[in-house]
């Protein structure tokens, strides 16, 4: 098996890697927005429960969450495909991290922004959607892009619950060919080729977003 064959073999798993990432984002983005905003707006007991949900997804080891949901859900009568479980667990884990960027982005805004909205007679939801969120979303976009890259990397885990992603393909090829150096170097390179452009995009966005952040008084 030549290096090209190994490369092509590993790339056969790229579809699954992309699919898990895409489905994962369907869980991650709404979770991050809803829970980040909710944590920002609420106080007292409500905030405690919202924080608890976020902490559960964020502070657990993602590899264990994946196994627990993969093995324990069927026992309580919930049967989901490996793809759905993986997308949900990886997505909500990433969403937990991203929710903190949403909350921090909202908290970092000047009080005057909200007060100006109130002075204009806008309702609280209108202030949130029209004034606060657009600014917070810009400020948190580098963190969000970084989280997408972390999500792509985390998809390597789905090889452990029988999905044939790039990592699974590499292990499969390694079972028939004793060329570990070539196979696992190719696997690392394959992830690098996918993830590095995302990292560069994040850096570019961060450089563009930062100047605005540095001048809190809008000078």
């Amino acid at each position: 098996m030549s290096l090209l064959d190994i490369w092509l073999g590993i790339l056969q798993g790229l579809g699954t890697t992309a699919k898990v990432t895409g489905y994962g984002l369907i869980f991650a983005v709404p979770f991050a927005l809803i829970f980040g905003v909710a944590q920002y707006l609420t106080t007292g007991v409500t905030r405690f429960f919202i924080t608890a949900v976020i902490e559960f997804w964020r502070s657990s080891a993602v590899i264990i969450l994946l196994f627990v949901f993969y093995y324990a859900l069927p026992i309580v009568g919930v049967t989901l495909s490996a793809m759905t479980v993986s997308a949900m667990v990886l997505g909500l884990n990433a969403g937990g991290y991203a929710s903190q960027a949403v909350r921090a982005g909202l908290q970092a805004l000047e009080r005057g922004q909200k007060e100006a909205g109130m002075a204009l007679g806008l309702s609280r939801p209108a202030i949130l959607v029209l004034i606060e969120l657009p600014q917070a979303l810009v400020a948190m976009s580098p963190t969000f892009i970084n989280q997408i890259m972390q999500l792509v990397k985390a998809t390597a885990l789905v090889s452990l619950v029988t999905l044939t992603d790039m990592t699974f393909r590499a292990k499969e090829i390694a079972q028939t060919e004793y060329k570990p150096v070539m196979i696992y170097t190719s696997l690392l390179l394959a992830f690098f080729v996918v993830c590095y452009p995302i990292a560069l995009l994040g850096r570019w966005v961060e450089a563009r977003v930062k100047p605005g952040r540095g001048s809190p008084h809008g000078v």
Partner: protein, 219 residues
């Protein structure tokens, strides 16, 4: 066959018994990643060809999944005749993976030190090593305490990855119980709860340590 709480409870002592291995792996990897990350940052800062290569290596590590690194080391090292135990391979893998992140932490910590400090060291004709040890490092430690603490928690949460190399840390032990009893949900759920509790306790302790450090520095 539903979820059996009594059986779950009976697995707690076995799984909790592996907490020593989990902590040993986390602490060794934390020290390894710090040492390696600091060396990487020093070489990168030095510039030249070595600096460029290190810059690429750090970006490469950060763009690739930890699971792929563990497989890489586990299968590639023996190919070159280097035979290490699974736990050593795991610790090396986690150290290498997190060194890429810690190098960035060191970079930020050093960048935050005023330039005059290095110029003063130069004026006192301190050597390069003396400048690092006596001038840069002590000031850097203050700057990096908080992010270092967060990364230690991340390393702790990455230790269950070693279960894929059959290291008997908590998740590995949970899988042992599962394969002996053919019941996966209970031991894995127990491992998940124990890890979540451990991560929460340690991140709380890290936060308390940070507060104390910053309190001291303000006086």
């Amino acid at each position: 066959m539903g979820f059996d709480p009594e059986f779950a409870l009976s697995t707690v002592p076995t799984i909790l018994g592996a907490i020593g291995t989990t902590l040993l792996v986390a602490i060794s990897s934390g020290l390894g990643a710090s040492a390696l990350g600091f060396c990487f940052e020093m070489v990168r800062r030095g510039g030249g060809t070595a600096g460029l290569i290190t810059r690429f290596l750090i970006d490469f590590i950060r763009s690739t999944p930890v699971l792929a690194w563990l497989y890489f080391l586990y299968f590639v090292l023996p190919f070159y005749g280097i035979r290490l135990g699974a736990m050593s391979v795991g610790v090396i893998g986690l150290s290498l993976y997190f060194s890429g992140y810690l190098a960035e932490v060191f970079k930020a910590g050093i960048d935050a030190i005023p330039k005059g400090q290095q110029e003063a060291a130069k004026a006192l004709s301190l050597g390069r090593l003396d400048t690092i040890v006596f001038v840069i490092a002590p000031q850097m430690l203050r700057n990096i305490a908080a992010p270092m603490g967060n990364y230690f928690v991340s390393i702790l949460k990455a230790t269950p990855y070693l279960a894929v190399l059959a290291v008997p840390e908590m998740l590995g032990r949970a899988f042992d119980v599962a394969s002996e009893t053919y019941r996966y949900a209970e031991p894995l759920t127990v491992a998940g709860i124990l890890f979540l509790a451990l991560a929460l306790v340690i991140s709380r302790a890290v936060k308390r340590l940070e507060l104390r450090l910053f309190k001291d520095s303000s006086h």
